[in-house]
Assembly symmetry: C2
Homo-oligomer: 554 residues x 2
Amino acid sequence: MGQIQQKLQIIPLGGMGEIGKNMTVIRFGDDIIVIDCGLMFPEDDMLGIDLVIPDITYLLDNQELIKAIVLTHGHEDHIGALPYVLKQLNVPVYGTRLTLGILEGKLKESNVPITNLIPVKAGDEIQIGIFKVGFIHVSHSIADSVALAIETPLGMIVHTGDFKFDQTPVDGKVTDFHKLAQLGDQGVLVLLADSTNAEHPGYTLSEKSVGITFDENYSNAHGRIIIASFSSNIHRIQQAIDTAYKYKRKVTILGRSMINVVTIASELGYLMIPEGILIDIDEMKNYPPSDIVIITTGSQGESMSSLTRMAMSDHRKVDIIPNDTIIISATPIPGNEKMVSRTVDYLLRQGAEVIYEKTSGAHVSGHASQEELKLMFNLIRPKFFIPVHGQFRHLVKHSKLAQELGMPKENIFIADNGHVLEFSPEKSGIVGKVPAGIVLVDGLGVGDVGNIVLRDRRQLSQEGILIVVMTIDKESGSVLDGPDIVSRGFVYVRESEQLMDEAKIKVRQTLEKCELNNVTEWAMIKSNVRDTLSKYLYEKTRRRPMILPIIMEV
Amino acid sequence: MGQIQQKLQIIPLGGMGEIGKNMTVIRFGDDIIVIDCGLMFPEDDMLGIDLVIPDITYLLDNQELIKAIVLTHGHEDHIGALPYVLKQLNVPVYGTRLTLGILEGKLKESNVPITNLIPVKAGDEIQIGIFKVGFIHVSHSIADSVALAIETPLGMIVHTGDFKFDQTPVDGKVTDFHKLAQLGDQGVLVLLADSTNAEHPGYTLSEKSVGITFDENYSNAHGRIIIASFSSNIHRIQQAIDTAYKYKRKVTILGRSMINVVTIASELGYLMIPEGILIDIDEMKNYPPSDIVIITTGSQGESMSSLTRMAMSDHRKVDIIPNDTIIISATPIPGNEKMVSRTVDYLLRQGAEVIYEKTSGAHVSGHASQEELKLMFNLIRPKFFIPVHGQFRHLVKHSKLAQELGMPKENIFIADNGHVLEFSPEKSGIVGKVPAGIVLVDGLGVGDVGNIVLRDRRQLSQEGILIVVMTIDKESGSVLDGPDIVSRGFVYVRESEQLMDEAKIKVRQTLEKCELNNVTEWAMIKSNVRDTLSKYLYEKTRRRPMILPIIMEV
């Protein structure tokens, strides 16, 4: 119990310089709490990877110190790594009811036993180890989101979670300005705040503005209405349903995750569904198209989603028909632009009306824009500031906003994942680094795909593979069968017979040369074959496929 | 010489339902001219493909009828397929001087003999076969762009090429409104018009507005200024140089394509470079940073480009230093958003000031927005309208704009590549289809990579490959060596020894079962091995690598 343990440490393990896998460690002495535990979707060059979770080496090394994981809300980038992390860490998890409801579904799917989930509600203050954690209601694109006020022996930490200041939220519950103001009055040591929209000037529009757009779209529609959105955006779904009720339309919910979330949210009372408005997909045929609303997944053009399947005429039960009005109530997440664009094209080709443009009003962000970020900053008036949740450019922008408001630059820390930020009465700043990084999940494998496998996948994806097999006599070293060449992903062999024949000749010549020069070591033979073939193929095709010589011995 | 040949046909071979590989055939009787011959950059799922060109089967089948290829401007999506197409077709190519200058460079690089390039200038009218082709000056993001007025026995066709109505162009030459108005007065049968920006309301800003932004940026900069832009945007480069002259800075040009285009454009007089302003990269050290402007490639975050290399500290001669001001004078082409974003992050991490936001004014589009498209339409007042150059949604939007202006829907044709649009005094419309599609270029291979190879690359990229090799006795059918399993891109083998050992046991069991059941046919043995292994690996890993059994025989 040395001196170091009297210091307050904040250690981001994810969400710094990236959008996703948000996770932050708060440590004082021998007490740790962890804020959020999210996943990230793979980068384009992480071929075949399903998702990315934070490296939790630091947590495993300090397991016995962890008092709890505290969740701000139920989005994947805040809770999605828990099915993996809870297999390794047995700690209590605090969250609001909807957050835990969504988490439970995920844990069940992954066969993780559900123990130790502790529900809280906005307004609660709970002692967790040495920390007193207050939960503060904030608006966001998922219901039941909270910011955290964490009282430590050295001062108050405020973590905003994801938030916006919606003045007319759908459920009438505004972000708890009063509590935030009160915290600012009492004095806050460190503010950690959401930087996702730090590049957006002005204010983010109210979620209610989407309801107004829905109303216009519904009143103009002559046939079915199909709305694609994020399943977690309960208030969006609520507005789609409310508008259906107003226009006397029935509602069908499609898509696995949409059905899951609607079920959980209505069970928990976050979604109010008018009696009798929901109908099953098979009942749709009993109603004219003008009496139907379909709420579905697929707003990101995901290949397996319901909307994409409909667009490609590949859905089991729903075909797009002319007169359908399709509302894509989302903007593409960076990287998904082309998939969404393709979906829109296919829908239009089927004769549907498609509402998708940014200017259509069918989507608003869940994150605070610049003026809201400034408001949060001015309410909290922290001594130190750590912008979180964003790529480096978002963090830089957020830091500049704080400086515009008079924050000295030296009191702002733009940290990397793993940086140890230490706060003590004497001195504050980045004092070190703990292990942090990415763990790749591919199917059932967690961490078994690393850089070497990815490098191979990249080469295979670009140029394919050539396998050269030969059977060699153990005694004489002479070739008994082969060399045979098999290729995949390189050229269409039927149309490149000459190339493949010549390649085989090149290999045979190389083998002869090896024999002549008494090269008998397999590694050397293989290396010679690889070099000759690689050079030959590059000359002929300007491609560098992976070349894999295999020697069998009898 | 039947009746059919008296009809006018318009056949798009590219650019319909896609951004790129623009190419349109105009045919009357036995006379064909081809407008543009562009390439397209590969879609995300075209793994390893360098570029995509149009299928020109129709042109090869009608070779002797082709009087010329006529170019509207020198962008890749309008001329980029010529190095491939001119290897197969020997026809004259008409274009303005800058367009042909850029084309010549490309032909040289590809070792295509340069013959039959015929320079024209805006204002020219040239008889080509039965057609009289007029070249009309238009503003676009490359200098020397033209629209085409094609006089045919059945009426006038106007093809806009890519255009915008810039009221204050950098070179002072406005789009030839007068000629367009005159054509409209005389009567136009068919208008084909650029749809790229059909979703953008209002007007596209003048190129000159970027110059004003440059001026502000230069006057605020304390260190070097680095501007990344498209090399073909001569007027952008002109403004960067002019502003450098005003602020007494020297200019270094970096990046292969930037150097090429600047050389050609200044030789041809399209770029005016003040005496003594250009310095070599190695001379930069003789000047303080505040006297330097670097104009470079890399505005799309391309991995091999100069700016990206600088960002990654991987450039041979230029390191980013704090106080550098980097202006990314372009917006990301759809699909490049993440690469640009990553470049910005790396530049910021090196302490540079980076100007990249849409709202920064450092870029304007080269394509007409909605009000300009309406103006073009109202000037030309065509009888029939074919929106071109755009994804399906752009074509639909452009068609709706035309309908708003009073065009009857039945006079608008949204065509696919290959559709034959026929116009005759009696009847006009889509009458058939000719071969059209994509040809993939991979290294030196043109068309040797097709769906099967791509499908293999996709599977390899996602899950890797397992190769199972065994040597079998020709006589007895018993296994002499193996089975050996080699994998690439599947799992990190050193950490998955148990999995690989068990896989080998599974294969051995399968072989024994085959022997027991007198299965001796190789195809059957291979298929059994593949099935068993695939099932086993999916169970253990939820992955489906490609499995390639190879049997050697001695």
